[in-house]
């Protein structure tokens, strides 16, 4: 039986979904040339939901027969997802108008996608994980192709869809095997049933889930779609996708593996180790040869998936699990914020017909638009992990957690690949300041606000990281 407390467990999610459904109807009443109103309504919905999420701080519980769970982890991730949604709306507001894409569905699709991501963070049952995965992905497929009839965008949408559906097949096959091995899909039931179940089937199931979610978070060798999709999709969509889908994918991975499969830790840790190392190396090496800023950021996002994966390696080790989960969450925040800032700068320089995206188009930015160039410099430093930025603090916590887990080799690979990454990130800075050029930018209030917000957060939180890290540390998973 459903009760009221079931709904309060997922109250923000219910409100956001209802809001999105109503907005879909309200959008019909808004004249075609004033779709900015839809954007404001969607931002209002996200802000309201963010408020409700924050109000859930410190509460714990589960609902719908333990299918969804509310804990510190889910509140933290939901808050980050909602902030990502807000930044995504702010980036899109002027961009879609400028590119001639202004249609009301954009914002409702974005809301539905955020709802899927939030459900992913609260899922405590593998069926719900699958449902949330699809709820977050299907709107993203459409959003990636939103610039139709532009061929690049359609191609991006189709590629994302084919690879996404393919990876969903792996996830759901893995879930079926786990269900077969344990007789249940509830994460709590799986833990209880593991001692008496077939280890082989369970391991194959867990591995298939890892492969499927590996596609979602763009870990090497499941990353092939990322550069094409990130390049072809409208930039505002890419910014949201890079942050949101990654956060949601990682939160699902973390919850499934840390709560349901801690007993597989010894066999899975090596696989995750290799996956993390490969992702960092391949992502950073291929990024060096990119001349298009969107592709460069796509490979950068692959590389960062590798850094975040490092936090997963010791998931089966109860002593360091708490600190590595906190470090992973902190790094997700730092990546999401920096990512939005960098994409904000990209959007400011992007022109219609896909011009303004080559690295050479950034020449002379430092002289002509010092504020924008300074912001971009901050984001590049943060992506490398240099002071005074959030990226440095994030990497510091991350490496500390990895070393505490006893994986010194992985930390060394992380540091070395960060050094390699400095080459291509700093190249952007060098082009901005050392080369002559006449760049033109578009100045839009919400875009400028987003970029400035991201830059300020990146710098200020790096100076006083303790409160955020304390929050991340208290955002523990509810274990069964």
């Amino acid at each position: 039986m459903m009760s009221f407390s079931d709904f309060t467990t997922i109250l923000p999610l219910v409100v956001l979904t209802a809001w999105a459904c109503v907005l879909l109807l309200v959008d019909l009443l808004i004249p075609r040339n004033r779709k900015g109103i839809t954007a404001l309504f969607s931002a209002l919905g996200l802000a309201l939901t963010l408020g409700l999420t924050i109000a859930q701080l410190g509460r714990q519980g589960s609902g719908f027969n333990d299918m969804v769970v509310l804990d510190g982890f889910s509140v933290f991730v939901n808050a980050l997802l909602l902030v990502s949604g807000l930044l995504g709306v702010a980036l899109a507001y002027g961009y879609v108008k400028r590119m001639g894409l202004e249609r009301g569905e954009y914002y409702t699709l974005l809301l539905f996608s955020v709802a899927g991501m939030m459900l992913m963070a609260q899922a405590a049952d593998l069926i719900v994980v699958f449902l949330a995965l699809e709820l977050l992905s299907i709107p993203l497929y459409i959003l990636a192709a939103f610039a139709r009839p532009k061929v690049e965008s359609e191609e991006a949408g189709l590629k994302y869809f084919l690879l996404g559906a393919f990876s969903a097949g792996f996830v759901v096959y893995g879930i079926a095997l786990v269900y077969g091995a344990t007789g249940t899909t509830a994460l709590s039931g799986i833990v209880a049933a593991i001692p008496s179940s077939s280890t082989l089937m369970l391991t194959i199931g867990a591995a298939l889930i890892l492969v499927g979610l590996g596609f979602k978070i763009a870990a090497v060798p499941f990353h092939m779609w990322t550069p094409d999709v990130y390049q072809g999709a409208p930039s505002a969509v890419t910014a949201f996708m890079a942050a949101g889908a990654k956060v949601a994918g990682f939160s699902a991975l973390l919850r499934i593996f840390a709560t349901a499969f801690p007993s597989l830790g010894s066999s899975m840790s090596d696989v995750l180790w290799a996956l993390a190392a490969l992702t960092m190396i391949v992502g950073n090496l291929i990024a060096i040869s990119q001349s298009d800023i969107k592709r460069l950021l796509a490979y950068s996002s692959i590389a960062h998936a590798g850094y975040i994966l490092m936090a997963f390696v010791p998931f089966g080790n109860p002593d360091v699990r708490a600190v590595s989960v906190a470090a992973g969450l902190f790094y997700l925040v730092s990546y999401a914020i920096t990512n939005f800032g960098a994409w904000g700068v990209v959007i400011a320089l992007e022109k219609a017909e896909g011009r303004g995206l080559a690295l050479d188009d950034y020449a002379g930015l430092g002289r002509k638009y010092p504020a924008l160039a300074a912001a971009m410099t901050i984001f590049m430093l943060s992506l490398i992990g240099l002071p005074p930025t959030l990226g440095l603090v994030g990497k510091f916590y991350l490496f500390r957690a990895v070393i505490a887990g006893g994986y010194v080799g992985l930390a060394v690979i992380g540091v070395l690949t960060s050094l390699i990454s400095a080459y291509y990130y700093l190249r952007v800075v060098v082009i901005m300041y050392m080369r002559e050029g006449e760049p033109t930018t578009t100045s839009e209030p919400y875009l400028n606000m987003t970029t400035a917000f991201a830059a300020l957060v990146t710098v200020i939180v790096s100076l006083v990281p303790a409160p955020l890290f304390a929050w991340a540390s208290s955002a523990v998973l509810k274990l069964f």
Partner: protein
């Protein structure tokens, strides 16, 4: 009763055929068919696990229904994307949809 391993073998074979189709076919529609085959392999698995497990717990059945409902939603979006690409490029061959490459 037929042993469960037969169903699991059937399902694994279906999944592998689907996987093979996705990896080798060049036509976007055929790739989509391969993906559908993979998802239906899952349904065979779920039904078998339900029948051979605790029959009163209908998790497997529910999950199978959810899988094909979601697959239908996914295909609706996917076919729309394919049609949209076809209108513009007059092809659904994956190798000819290759504007972006590293």
């Amino acid at each position: 009763m037929i042993p469960i391993s037969w169903y699991l073998t059937l399902s694994a074979a279906l999944f592998s055929i689907g996987l093979f189709g996705v990896l080798t076919r060049r036509n976007a529609i055929a790739i989509l068919l391969g993906i559908e085959l993979m998802l239906n392999a899952v349904n065979v698995n779920l039904a078998a696990f339900w029948r051979y497990g605790d029959v009163n717990q209908i998790t497997g059945q529910i999950f199978a229904i959810i899988v094909f409902a979601v697959a239908a939603a996914e295909v609706a979006v996917g076919l729309a994307l394919v049609i949209s690409v076809y209108r513009k490029k007059n092809t659904v061959i994956a190798e000819e949809i290759d504007l972006m490459k590293w």
